[in-house]
Symmetry: none
Subunit: 241 residues, 2 copies
């Protein structure tokens, strides 16, 4: 259950350290160039390059084209500097009190229709329905991007997901190899849940059910990643039938 830390170069480590430190000290993220300075690199593109790797590896998150929008997801264990009382307090308040997270249920997921997405980042409130999940079950510290969908129909059984199941997803448009993602296939006009693998010239979508074969997507453009699945919950509801 512990996060994997593969191939983190010295540079990567330094960047992560700088990110957390800077965030902690200033309350906002550094710019690309500031990161470059911190590791002695003059080229912004190189920093961008590293940031993308860290993103791939799931260490950080960024918003496209938005300044200083880097979020550190897995702070490295090496923290000894907590200058900001505020940050500290907030952090403590976060994980000390709310072990239970309420995730809005954005709608139902059907193979034949696109994914309903939470209408905005701000409407936690009006979600009429939601699921409560223990924080310990979730990989991400960042709760804001999580939403849940209820599976409608049998069309996802090849993903080992059945009618009535609840999938908790994280909003994203990129995926790492091995992630289970919800994708919209343009040519097939359908939504599907599959494991994502980027291969040399194509993308392999592997069903969770080991008995079923993968499908391949040659054109990355025709595949829209809507989010990655982080949790599946099935309440057995003793239905007669």
């Amino acid at each position: 259950m512990a996060k994997r830390h593969p191939g983190l170069s010295e540079r990567h480590r330094k960047i992560m350290e700088f990110l957390t430190k800077f965030q902690d000290a200033n309350g906002y993220s550094p710019s690309i160039r500031q990161i470059g300075d911190s590791i002695g690199v003059k080229s912004t593109s190189l920093v961008d390059y590293y940031l993308n790797q860290l993103l791939e590896m799931g260490y950080i998150e960024r918003e496209n084209r938005i300044s200083r929008s880097i979020r550190v997801l897995t702070p490295l264990p090496s923290e000894s500097s907590l200058p900001s009382k505020v940050a500290d307090a907030i952090r403590n308040a976060g994980n000390a009190i709310s072990d239970l997270i309420s995730i809005p249920i954005a709608g139902r997921i059907v193979a034949s229709a696109p994914l309903p997405m939470p209408t905005s980042d701000l409407n936690y409130y009006d979600a009429e329905s939601s699921v409560d999940i223990a924080r310990s079950l979730l990989p991400s510290r960042d709760v804001s991007e999580l939403f849940a969908l209820e599976v409608d129909g049998d069309s996802m059984i090849d993903a080992m997901v059945n009618d009535g199941d609840i999938v908790v997803m994280k909003k994203t448009s990129t995926a790492n190899n091995g992630d289970m993602v919800a994708v919209w296939l343009d040519d097939k006009d359908e939504t599907t849940l599959k494991y994502f693998y980027k291969e040399a010239k194509r993308i392999r979508l592997q069903p969770a059910n080991p008995n079923m074969g993968p499908i391949y997507v040659e054109d990355p453009k025709s595949l829209r990643i809507m989010g990655k699945v982080v949790l599946v919950i099935r309440q057995i509801k003793s239905v007669a039938g």
Copy 2:
């Protein structure tokens, strides 16, 4: 020594609210223009104007000429409009503990072996591992009879349950029609998860996967119900393969 909070106009309040909300949701501050949008103001200068006032009054901090560098210093009191996380946290603080129940993981479930059962009702403590589940996800009021098992191997895919999944079960030796039960089949020498239906002269065990056929047990004696499944949890763990 608390800061004075004089003359906070509706606009000020709205801005503060938006700031905290946005920060909370995105992990970084909004831009001037985003703030403007949020309060229905087109002019960036006006937003700047307000921000300076808030700064004067000690509500926020900003860095000159740095994007998205606003820090909220004094989150507004109560007001019923706090960002959800905090609000929820506070609200739940009292009953959070009781809403979350810790279920011991008794062992692993394999088709080829009997179910490991919790040795006694009292050994919550020494359970090295456990899962935390929100009470709202569980049907049963009675926590003491619940235990969890981790699925080992692919042998349960006909129950739509895969390697690594966690099944939460309620200890029982009887079942009602429609329950999903874990049963030990004497003649086959295996454990399986199936929906339980008592028919006229036999018992029908129906896989969760609608594509697969049922199996029938003629002799009720050769079937031992170990418990009924109340919840299945699958954490997607992004493993390459």
